[in-house]
């Protein structure tokens, strides 16, 4: 279909193809040109060959010297007065990409991963560029400048504003205690690096909640990783506040080398999970080292809970399971509070730093809030505790603003049981990579984190997304991230959050697992900056725990992309189909520009193939 002047401008560097027959002597206008959005399909089906085709920018205003038919790619031999490409000195020659979900009609629009950085290289003379130190991240050396003074490189989003003093607005001290052995004993206690859990504590767990019908505690050491397990509902750090410290400040004590793991079924043997479950041998179903997952070598205090039949899909079932399981964690927390300081193996200080003058960014994390097991407890008294927390669903899924340190101190106790590969478990927030990267990035000023629930009903989704839009707008943020877990239904609110923020003039990077199976079902014009959290080989939800969750490599790309967006630079539109190369190209370019190496995490290919995976996913 012919295009408007506006579309022509947006696609200035795309191929120029006649939409219709055009006669010799006419001047090429946008109305003569086909919409580049459909070229991929045409090229795929062999209807179009773009070899030697000029760009829209080059042909507009040129005179056609020969009558050409519809779908004719415009080449130099049929035009008079072709314009030069816009490449003045020190202007963009090379552009790196990211690929958003195309603003799509309500059909599946594949989203592709990406990060973004724009490098300016020109051939001008006497270019005097002043690049603030650190413009390329971390105060590291500026990217290599080609020999001679005739070219220069500039980083993305070099802020022009005067740089203010860094301001530490909060600190959180984590005291680490090392655990090397977990045993059962007459009482719960820690001796040296051995954690004892009281024998018979199972009965307390069962007694705590009416819906809990059975409970079994297992200590899974690395030798026992090849143990069959019901679906993993949650992985939690074992941490407690010291003294009167409030969550997100003061001192938190945490055990290293051990995690809590909740697994479960209902009395009928139905897994407590939706959109897949991760039951099977632990070593075949857990993606080690993901922010939300156990690290290889850690000991799991694994509680398998059986709840009343059919309450697995009701809200009260999973809530009861989590509440009861916390009995054990709380007993350990009480012990931890009394531990002698001499057992501290490492003290870590986390700082919440504001950077006035830098681009202000906010992280909006969409969390599940549809009810049943799709809920989250927000802001418990203890890290990832139960007591004091409010259920997201009870809060009406409305945005809740928290500080970055509250996130890292376990302010979310996740009940999420959506697809195992993309769900963010409690431990994920404890190690949330985007919060960590943004907090440490000296080029941005992270003002805070907003949690917003994903309600069941569309009307409620738009109710909360409008709140998000206003919340971000009144923060005067320069840029925003919106992350989500799962895929499908939640993408409706995900898209709406981005729209509500974007329409208020704040560029927004969206982060989600999309790839193939999670392709966006909706889209809008503000979804220009998308980063795909997919890690799986085939781009699918393959029920491997944590596989497709947000990792550091995704956070790095998202930050680079947001900086570019805030600098008003274009991010190239997504390719038509999911193409994992977009991500790797972006990673390479970021590495090239920042002079650092980004270690990419592995995926399910590193795990022993489970029978389920072999049957279902290969």
């Amino acid at each position: 279909m012919s295009i408007t002047a506006e579309t022509a401008k947006a696609h200035a560097h795309d191929p120029a193809v006649l939409c219709c027959r055009a006669e010799e002597g006419i001047t090429i206008e946008p109305a003569n040109l086909e919409d580049p959005a459909i070229f991929d399909d045409l090229v795929d089906s062999g209807l179009l060959n773009l070899d030697g085709c000029l760009t829209i920018e080059e042909v507009l205003g040129a005179k056609l010297t020969k009558t050409c038919d519809s779908l004719c790619p415009l080449t130099a031999d049929v035009l008079d007065g072709v314009k030069a490409v816009s490449a003045p000195a020190a202007e963009a020659v090379e552009e790196v990409v990211a690929a958003p979900a195309a603003p799509a009609a309500p059909v599946a629009a594949p989203a592709v991963a990406g990060g973004m950085l724009k490098i300016h290289i020109g051939e001008g003379k006497d270019i005097d560029l002043q690049i603030p130190v650190g413009a390329l991240g971390g105060g590291a050396a500026v990217a290599e400048v080609p020999a001679g003074a005739e070219a220069a490189a500039a980083g993305a989003a070099a802020p022009a504003a005067a740089v203010g003093e860094e301001k530490v607005v909060g600190t959180l001290t984590r005291k680490h205690f090392n655990i090397t052995e977990v045993k059962r004993g007459p009482e719960t206690k820690i001796e040296g690096t051995t954690l004892y859990i009281r024998e018979g504590i199972e009965a307390d767990v069962i007694a705590d909640q009416e819906l809990v019908k059975d409970f079994k505690l297992e200590i899974i050491t690395p030798e026992l990783y090849h143990t069959y397990s019901e679906t993993v509902m949650d992985v939690q750090p074992i941490a407690t506040k010291e003294g009167d410290s409030e969550l997100g400040s003061g001192v938190t004590r945490v055990l290293d080398g051990v995690v809590m793991m909740l697994t479960g079924v209902d009395e009928g043997g139905v897994q407590i999970g939706e959109f897949g479950s991760s039951e099977g041998y632990l070593d075949e179903n857990i993606m080690w080292g993901r922010p939300g997952c156990p690290d290889k070598g850690e000991i799991f205090i694994k509680g398998n809970i059986v709840i009343q039949e059919k309450t697995n899909m009701e809200r009260r079932g999973p809530m009861a399971a989590h509440t009861a399981f916390d009995i054990i964690t709380q007993e350990i927390r009480e012990v931890m509070k009394k531990l002698d300081e001499s057992l501290v193996v490492e003290t870590q200080e986390l700082k919440s730093i504001r950077r006035p003058g830098k681009k202000k960014v906010v992280i909006v994390k969409e969390i599940m809030g549809q009810g049943a097991m799709h809920d989250n407890f927000i802001l418990p008294v203890e890290p990832v505790g139960i007591l004091g927390a409010r259920a997201n669903v009870d809060l009406g899924n409305v945005p809740v603003c928290v500080s970055p340190l509250e996130v890292l101190d376990g302010c979310i106790h996740a009940l999420t049981c959506i697809g195992p590969a993309s769900k963010e478990m409690s431990r994920h927030y404890w190690r949330e990579p985007l919060v960590l990267e943004a907090l440490h990035d000296e080029e941005v000023d992270l003002c805070g984190v907003v949690f917003v629930g994903s309600p069941q009903i569309n009307a409620e989704k738009f109710y909360v997304s409008r709140r998000v839009g206003h919340t971000v707008a009144m923060m005067d943020a320069d840029g925003a991230f919106v992350t989500t877990e799962g895929f499908g239904n939640n993408h409706i609110d995900f898209a709406s959050h981005i729209e509500q923020i974007g329409m208020r003039g704040v560029p927004t990077v969206g982060m989600s697992y999309c790839a193939v199976q999670g392709a966006l079902v909706v889209g809008n014009k503000h979804m220009q900056y998308m980063v795909d959290n997919n890690k799986s080989e085939a781009g699918i939800e393959n029920e491997i725990l944590g596989n497709n969750t947000l990792c550091q490599e995704d956070a790095i790309r998202a930050l680079a992309m947001l900086k570019a967006a805030m600098a008003g630079e274009d991010v190239k539109a997504a390719e038509k189909k999911w193409n994992p190369n977009v991500k790797s190209t972006n990673v390479e370019l970021i590495e090239g520009a920042y002079g650092t190496k980004i270690d990419l995490v592995g995926n399910e290919q590193e795990l022993p193939m489970s029978e389920k995976r072999r049957l279902k996913y290969s």
């Binding site: 939409c19 219709c20 109305a31 062999g46 209807l47 038919d69 519809s70 779908l71």
Partner: protein
């Protein structure tokens, strides 16, 4: 002569109200119905007796004798020319049927230029305006196969020019342009001779593509201005009149003759061949069947009868009456049988409505599984007939073809103009879509090339170089 059925609605606007009783004797020119809102007077076209009056029509049984005399229109001695046009019940005879008396009620010498949309007028400078008031005569006779307009220029050129001058006088237009396809060499020569001393009346030669007779296409071709689908020609300080309408204006003023007859072309699968049968001054209300018989009768089996042109006409039957806007009767060859295959239809402003396209698909025994609309076909208000944003200039069609392919169409039926049909052909067949045009059966019937790939230029030189 069979009974004459005179429809109460032969124009844009509300149906007229009868002003005769059943049983009344009427003459040619007896006023039998008057407007109730926007409309035009309706007269008896024959001598005879009113036998029936319904909500839709007045039926008259014609007398055996039909003298040429008619009852002149009833206007005062000093009636203005515009009053005469109004009284005569003239409507746009090219098919649109807009009451001419209303259309001419404009002072083009004082008319202000409308605001032009820069998006569709990229070549016009800002503040562009037209210095004259124009009467534009639509003599494109654009529906393929029709010939009565051109025949009238050849045979009644004086009347044409008188009508043009009256129209200029009524609207205070200082210029007139006759838009005519360059292929009509004899008519152009006739006009050229007649206009030798007429400095204010000129010709604009059109290429032989469809559509050139669309009102806004005429404005664009003659004056170089693209109007939006909501703008009237007055926005370009002009009034567009169909060729025949102009002659009816001359008759109303010179002869006080009411608008009671119509010129038309009968053509197609007719005994004796598919040449055009041009009938001048056919009484309004005569049946389609009678006109086909006068032309020679249907030659064997046929597909359908189209009233009007192949693009914008509708299927009709023998009993249907001729109206003030009937330009053509086409008897078509039989339809091909698609044996229930999946069909996509591409609806545009130049051809039939979606209903008409579906009817053709059904007559071809196709199953409509996909409907697309040309991007430029604008529905000004819900349910209103589609209008083309840039008549005759394609906006691209490959996306529609992709839809048809996706919807698993084997065939597509298109109703597009020459340029758009050409575009459909550029990708459709390569995608494996078999393309029919809505007018195929009519074009085969009149011996006209099918609308597929465009092989002529959209530009013609204005020189009379033949």
């Amino acid at each position: 002569m069979g009974n004459v059925q005179i429809l109460l609605r032969q124009h844009v606007g509300a149906p007229c109200a009868p002003c005769v009783e059943a049983g009344a004797d009427v003459k040619k020119g007896t006023l039998i119905a008057t407007p109730t809102g926007l409309g035009a007077n309706i007269f008896s076209s024959v001598y005879g007796k009113v036998t029936e009056i319904t909500d839709e029509k007045i039926v008259i049984e014609p007398a055996a004798e039909q003298p040429d005399e008619f009852v002149p229109i009833d206007v005062p001695e000093d009636a203005s020319k515009l009053d005469m046009v109004k009284a005569a019940g003239i409507v746009g005879m090219g098919g649109a049927g807009f009451p001419t008396g209303v259309k001419l009620g404009i002072d083009l010498s004082a008319a202000e230029m409308g605001e032009l949309d820069p998006e569709i007028n990229p070549e016009l400078p800002k503040g562009f305006s037209i210095d004259h008031g124009y009467i534009l005569i639509n003599a494109a006779e654009c529906e393929p196969g029709l010939e009565h307009n051109i025949r009238q220029i050849e045979n009644q050129c004086d009347k044409v020019i008188r009508g043009i001058k009256y129209s200029m006088e009524i609207t205070k237009a200082d210029k007139a342009i006759i838009a005519i396809k360059k292929k009509n060499q004899k008519a152009i020569k006739t006009l050229q001779a007649a206009l030798a001393n007429e400095t204010d009346i000129t010709m604009h030669l059109l290429p032989d593509i469809y559509p050139m007779g669309e009102e806004r296409a005429v404005v664009r071709e003659c004056l170089g201005v693209n109007l939006t689908t909501l703008q009237l020609p007055s926005a370009a300080r002009s009034v567009v009149l169909n060729l025949e309408t102009v002659t009816r204006i001359a008759e109303a003023i010179d002869e006080k003759r009411p608008c009671i007859t119509k010129n038309l072309t009968v053509r197609g699968k007719i005994n004796g061949g598919n040449e055009a049968h041009v009938f001048m001054d056919v009484p309004v209300g005569v049946s389609v069947g009678e006109m086909i018989e006068r032309a020679g009768g249907i030659d064997g089996k046929y597909g359908e009868i189209i009233m009007g042109g192949a693009f914008t006409g509708k299927s009709t039957d023998f009993d249907a009456p001729i109206t003030k806007t009937t330009g053509g009767i086409i008897v078509t060859v039989e339809f091909p049988d698609l044996h229930g295959a999946n069909v996509g239809i591409l609806v545009c402003a130049c051809g039939g409505s979606e209903d008409r396209m579906r009817e053709i698909a059904e007559k071809m025994n196709g199953k409509v599984v996909s409907v697309a609309r040309c991007k430029q076909a604008i529905e000004n208000k819900p349910g209103a007939p589609l209008k083309c944003l840039r008549p005759g200039n394609c906006p691209g069609q490959v996306k529609n073809n992709m839809q048809f392919k996706k919807d698993k169409c084997e065939y597509i039926i298109i109703g597009n103009c020459s340029d758009c049909s050409n575009t459909v052909m550029a990708s459709g067949p390569k995608m494996g879509l078999k393309v029919f045009h809505q007018t195929d059966h009519a074009m085969r019937s009149v011996g006209h090339a099918l609308y597929r790939t465009l092989r002529v230029s959209k530009q013609v030189s204005q020189d009379i170089d033949f």
